[in-house]
Amino acid sequence: MDFEILIQNILNALQWGSFYALIALGYTLVYGVLLLINFAHGDIFMVGAYVGFFFAILFTGNSFIQIPFDIPLWLVFILTVVLSMIVTSFVGVTLERVAYRPLRRKGANRLYVVITALMCGLILENANLAFFGASRRMFPELIDKTIYTFGTISISNIKIMVIITAIMAFIILELIIRKTRIGMAMRAISYDRVAVPLMGIPIDRVIVFTFVLGSSMAALAGVLFVTAYPVLEPYMGAIIGWKAFIAAVVGGIGEIRGAFVGGFLLGFIEIFVAAFFPSTFRDLIAFSLLLLLLSMKPTGLFGVSRSTKI
């Protein structure tokens, strides 16, 4: 492969992987603390994108609510991102409060919570479809797209922003987990859920915080995604969500580094497979490779196996 084409693909893979990484981080955070596969997470990503969309058209004066002054586009973008993260966190926390917590209180079998999560995801998707219709929406252009070229390699400022955001999100998360008290509480809960409340740690608050973090990551990914690829549709979260989930597991579910690496790994696999094979083979080969990886290392790249003691 030509060196320049290689670099181009690497850059594309980094950008594509950033989305998976951001979403995978959310999965892993919740799993680490609750041992719950939050199957609704991909749809949280979708909610983030749609919420961002509504704020964007509000602030750019394109919705039926008119604001009396003009806001510069870069500010709109920042507002969109921040507000979307906040609102989507609300949605995520509401899910936790209304659907997951009652089951947790009852000490219900994990499986029932997982099924509930799956159902919540379906509700989000289809409620969107029902209330806002099947027509696709176009995300308004908020950022002046500039393309930098080096020889035949081109990269847009949006791509750069996505990659940098993903890396920064990871660093901030790592800092939170390792350096703050609440991060330590999160780690403690993942080791021993029963003992932690007995030690005086407000487990509910930590769980809410985890959902806030995870949902914000997903919302951030959502807004960035529709900035880069401006089409929104109700099922957009489903496929990406499932794939990001697989990426999180391949990386080692419960491990933040695993989710981060797994997300980029999937991005790389997809882009490079598409470079060599017809695009219809992309999913097929990507999943087969992931399956192979999992069968070789069943607990994922960074995962720790929990062995049974008898």
Partner: protein, 337 residues
């Protein structure tokens, strides 16, 4: 004589019921729509009870059942269209109409067989992997099957495959009765029969032991690997048969019908009925199919209502309608020693 009637009572009742159904369809006492719903009920019974083997009795979390349905659907359809119908891609029918009727069960079983072999893709990893990790593998297999089909252009790829209508017509040219109804009634009964025989034997109960405590099962002499293989292959094989039937009722199939959405539908039925209850799976399949039809006017909201119902179920009655009991437990036999 009475003794025989009593021993085979369920069998005889089912045959009478089936004959009644087919006759009513033939005489058009029940219209085409009702016939379709009945056929869907049959297919859903096969789907939900087959998934119950793995998700209920064996306690795994398989979320990729649609992959096996797809395999059966495509294998049976392609074989049938190739052999019994004239088609743009495959040319004229190789065997005549009469063969369509006699060999339909054979191609259906062939679809089931191939589907059960694909089930090995999940069975073998299950030896060392459980729970969430195995769930991923089932997801991945579902995707891989769907993707693979999309890439095989000769059978239509993403555009889909059709021609099954001609096969059904060929069968009706031999004897004009609603054949799909016949076959569905037969295979539904067959499925329930096989599964019941399996799980009520001490051999089959090994899979329940695997669910309750796999380590203890292994150490008490249960060959857990063989149990897992049997369970997965039986489950996916029956799903494949359901797929073949589904394809011929619809007349057209495409990979888009066999995604996680479809797998989720089947899971809803299993958990609604009760994990590890065969009668539960049957009851919930009936309820679910009817519910889907009743909610049809609501269109998309239907898919908000159904998940909501399942969430409420999880909160207030997670063991489903039947829990892990069977109808039999409510009506104990009087002559039981």
């Amino acid at each position: 004589m009475m003794h025989i009637l009593h021993k085979y009572q369920y069998f005889i009742l089912y045959i009478l019921f089936s004959v009644l159904m087919v006759f009513s369809a033939q005489q058009e006492w029940i219209n085409a729509y009702i016939q379709l719903v009945i056929m869907y009920i049959g297919i859903n019974i096969i789907l939900s009870s087959s998934l119950n083997i793995v998700n209920g009795y064996m306690g795994e979390f398989s979320c990729g059942h649609a992959g096996f349905i797809a395999v059966g659907a495509y294998v049976t359809s392609v074989l049938n269209v190739w052999l019994f119908a004239s088609d743009r891609v495959f040319g004229p029918a190789i065997l005549g109409e009469y063969w369509a009727l006699t060999l339909f069960p054979v191609t259906l079983l062939a679809g089931g067989l191939i589907a059960s072999l694909v089930g090995l893709l999940v069975a073998i990893p299950s030896f060392n992997t459980r729970g969430d990790y195995l769930a991923i593998i089932t997801l991945a297999v579902n995707y891989i099957v769907k993707s693979a089909i999309e890439n095989i252009q000769i059978i239509g790829g993403a555009r889909g495959f059709m021609g099954m209508r001609k096969v059904v017509n060929a069968m009706q040219d031999v004897w004009d009765i609603p054949w799909m109804m016949v076959f569905i009634l037969f295979f539904t009964g067959f499925t329930v029969w096989i599964i019941w025989r399996f799980v009520s034997s001490t051999y089959g109960k090994g899979i329940i032991a695997v669910r309750e405590d796999e380590v203890a099962a292994e150490i008490m002499g249960v060959n857990t690997r063989r149990m897992k293989m049997t369970a997965f292959m039986l489950s996916s094989g029956l799903a494949g048969i359901a797929g073949g039937l589904f394809a011929h009722v619809l007349g057209y199939i495409n990979p888009g019908s066999f995604t996680i959405m479809k797998s989720t539908e089947v899971m809803v039925m299993v958990y609604l009925g009760g994990m590890g209850s065969l009668s539960g799976s049957v009851i919930s399949a009936v309820l679910f199919t009817v519910l889907l039809e009743l909610l049809r006017p609501l269109q998309v909201i239907k898919w908000v209502v159904i998940p909501l119902m399942l969430i409420l179920l999880m909160m207030f009655r997670p063991e489903g309608i039947m829990g892990n009991r069977e109808l039999r437990d409510f009506f104990p036999k009087h002559d039981k020693k």
